[in-house]
Point group: C2
Chain length 205, copies 2
């Protein structure tokens, strides 16, 4: 990393600009992918956004695909840690389900650009297909939790478990489309609403 | 239309191929946009998918943007007709809300490719921005319905109306990611689940 930083400093455009470490380049790239589309975003356009020369960017990253890989890994690891917290809590399936809904909502608020990129993948490359395969396992985990909670008598058995799991994730994932950091509601308040809506709905109690 | 059809028949590649009317070209184009991304899809690639020459395609449509305009108009008109049905039913805000959730779920199942394209717009052009502006009005309509139903005492007042509306649309809109025509559950059964989940949640009743 030190030699890369030294090299970057030599590139005229980036001299003295703050925040142009590798993480900042990746984050800006991910935000740009989300804005105009991964396929449509060129390394030239990315360089323009960062106010860096293309060669300065190549000190940090070797390709668009490397950014994609790193960003989706980060999103998937965040989601994996939510699953691990659910599994280690030792509660009922219903309790795990609640932790999963709350935890994924918080994860989406905290890691919005990375999860957004993950959710918009279409499987156009090996990297995308591998990420989609890992993502599919989270949906399957949620489906299994709903089924188990139904079997344990704590969740309505009349609603199809697979559909319910997809709809709950649809609700949570929609945060990537409209969540604004620093908005009127905090991530904790939003997580409380996703949990309430999932378990009790909006009908007058 | 007759002269266009005649012209198309003259193009070698399309001779005798069935289903290559304008509607089929638009639908295939929309599915291709959804699959690989609007920006990434070229007219050449579209011609390849349809087994038509590029000039044969230009008998039907003048540009990618014309397809985008037509497809988003179609999706928006479908959604507008759901709103009109809600408004003409003369029921309470809660009843309108239920009709809106059921109606948009059915609309998404029936018009999946067109609504999917609408939901994936990023505002990269005037056509996209205009469509996003019209789309925003549906979310505002849903937000107003939730607020009114809260004021009428039929929907819980403790959940933020704007967030609830976004989450409900997030749930319904997720169908564009996973709904398969001819799948295990019919559009009507799926619509019943979105309504039940929205109003009562998954908790054991």
């Amino acid at each position: 990393m030190d030699s890369m930083t030294a090299k970057t400093r030599k590139a005229g455009n980036s001299r003295g600009r703050p925040g142009h470490d590798r993480a900042a380049v990746v984050r800006t790239a991910v935000e740009a992918f989300n804005e105009v589309g991964y396929e449509a975003m060129s390394m030239n356009a990315l360089a323009g956004r960062l106010g860096l020369s293309k060669s300065a960017i190549y000190h940090h990253i070797s390709s668009k695909e490397e950014i994609l890989q790193e960003a989706t890994d980060r999103a998937l690891e965040t989601l994996q840690s939510v699953v691990e917290q659910c599994e280690s809590c030792g509660g009922s399936s219903r309790e795990k389900l609640e932790k999963m809904i709350r935890g994924t909502t918080l994860a989406l608020c905290e890691e919005t650009p990375y999860v957004t990129l993950l959710l918009r993948l279409r499987g156009n490359s090996e990297v995308e297909l591998a990420a989609l395969e890992r993502r599919r396992k989270f949906t399957e985990y949620l489906m299994e939790l709903v089924k188990k909670a139904q079997a344990e008598g704590q969740v309505r058995p009349d609603l199809d478990a697979h559909t319910v799991a997809r709809l709950i994730f649809g609700m949570v994932n929609s945060l990537t489309e409209w969540y604004q950091p620093g908005g009127r509601l905090s991530p904790r308040e939003l997580a409380q609403i996703t949990v309430e809506l999932s378990f009790h709905g909006i009908n007058m109690l």
